[in-house]
Symmetry: C2
Subunit: 325 residues, 2 copies
């Protein structure tokens, strides 16, 4: 691979001149410009990012820290981040932490030593201080952590209200809510939204807790359906959980949506592929990703942020697991 020296030699100028050409900085005669341009073409020269990084302490790399790319919520998000990163000339490195604090630390350390320019964090492991101490631009995705770190998330509580309300409108008299782990704020907000509505309407309800996991959700629902066969509506804290619900009702010989209606949360592509397709509270996943990435790049480029915390509205996507009009 040709270096800047080779180009300088070939063009009969100094490396500084080549560098000026490359960065369009400082004075440069038309003539020199022409010679350099030719040399670069002739040698097929490409600037070496590593050398640039070493000098600038910057890498044009972004880190995306997520629990697991295999969770259907994240591919679309990752895609969104990557799409805008590409636009601005950044490369993104995805880190699967499996919600393991050591793994997360390991990755962040590795990225820092590569001069990563910023991080989008979609996990719930470290504390605000840990993140702030990193000393690099950050965006929290799907949660806020203190006021200082910019964030992008959905209005989970309102979304949950939307879904619960719709279930009641469709005639549900006894609704089960499968909520996510208590430690996860997102899941807690959805629980709160559910609670708001059932309390207000004095709707009979039961709440179970489950990991965002299809099988655990199925088991929990089987259990509660067994205990309360009158349940005629299920609102789950995620679409994956709703699949578990669907499996459970199916194995019980229940018809959806005739006997029991189901609403999920997330709006992952899977929902549309199911038969029956899943009614859900859809988050603007792609938009969350692009927004987070733009926020991050703005910080990296030291542009002012007129707003730090973004809350996106959710949308009720009526499909086949509810009765419809």
């Amino acid at each position: 691979m040709a270096t800047i020296k080779d180009v300088a030699k070939h063009a009969n100028v100094s490396v500084a001149t080549v560098s000026r050409y490359l960065n369009k900085k400082g004075y440069l005669s038309k003539e020199a410009e022409q010679k350099v341009k030719e040399a670069i073409g002739a040698l097929n020269y490409k600037p070496n990012s590593v050398a640039r990084s070493l000098y600038h302490k910057t890498s044009k790399m972004l880190g995306l820290v997520i629990p697991d790319i295999t969770n259907p919520f994240f591919p679309e998000l990752a895609r969104a981040v990557e799409d805008v990163a590409l636009t601005y000339g950044y490369t993104v490195v995805i880190c699967n932490t499996d919600e393991d604090i050591d793994k997360e630390k390991h990755y962040i350390e590795a990225l820092k030593s590569k001069y990563v320019d910023g991080l989008i964090i979609a996990t719930h492991e470290l504390s605000e201080k840990d993140y702030l101490d990193l000393g690099i631009p950050l965006v929290m995705l799907d949660r806020t952590i203190g006021e200082a770190i910019p964030s992008v998330r959905s209005n989970n509580r309102e979304g949950a209200k939307l879904g619960t309300k719709y279930l009641i409108e469709q005639g549900c008299q006894f609704i089960a809510h499968v909520r996510g782990p208590l430690t996860i704020k997102t899941a807690y907000d959805r629980y709160l939204g559910f609670k708001d509505v059932v309390d207000q309407h004095q709707t009979r309800h039961e709440i179970v807790e489950s990991a965002f996991d299809i099988d655990e959700s199925k088991q929990k629902i089987l259990k509660i359906l067994n205990e309360y066969p009158e349940i005629d509506g299920i609102f789950t804290s995620s679409d994956v959980m709703a699949v578990g619900a669907l499996k459970a009702t199916q194995s019980l010989g229940l018809h959806v949506p005739e006997d029991i209606q189901i609403i999920g949360f997330d709006g992952i592509p899977l929902g549309e592929m199911l038969i029956p397709s899943l009614t859900t509270i859809s988050q603007s996943i792609y938009k969350m990703g692009t927004l987070a990435c733009r926020l991050l790049i703005k910080q990296i480029e030291k542009k002012p942020l007129e707003e730090l915390h973004f809350v996106l509205e959710t949308e009720l996507k009526i499909r086949e697991t509810t009765r419809g009009e």
Copy 2:
């Protein structure tokens, strides 16, 4: 961030000594070792990867070039690659090319200028020469391209035979095959396998072509089902296409598997989540990823490869879209 100089100063030794300690190379007195160790601890020193990269022309980074992480085949693959990469201390950068040759070239260029150590390629854009000219270790995933570049793929033809045979065993008399784009070798092999079996059994059949896309597949199937209502079996070239088939049969009021049986190909997690769950020819996706990554790292570490081309067997996963025993 502390540098090697800081550590040297703190420990009252030269940077060379610190470097020797870091790399466990060359002579080092117990005493010096102790001092350096302390200094590193005290300063919380972490070696800078960028500086190392510049010297070694190596980055401990791997590139994974795929069409689109949003395609449900790839998250599991990416996960597998990352898991083994992590074990060996590598970081992986995922590149979504959208099957766009310019995007692929752009990414590869960017990675090269970052001294990426190797590439796993799961796209079909560039030629063997293009790849060879890169001059870095490579593994082809899901296809072979010449003899020189190591590869990992499934035995697609045998897999297709397995599926087609099973459909016939289950009583199908008229089978439709939705094949993938002709340009994709993988899809072609599956088509060949299908053809092998229907020809041998003189089974009535029809073939349509579709992108690996749910809606297009649905439309194509709707059309052929309309033309030949006697079709009682569908074998698709991917699971996503099979979802299209399921949607099509459902919209026609057909019962699966009673009226018509369906078999997909891939074994993506989605298949299990569907209701009815999808009978499919399952590839060992995770294994393909780990194998490819190990192969790549072996090359990077200049270890001999006893074998260059790996063909993994597929497995028939009998679920609910076929009649079963």
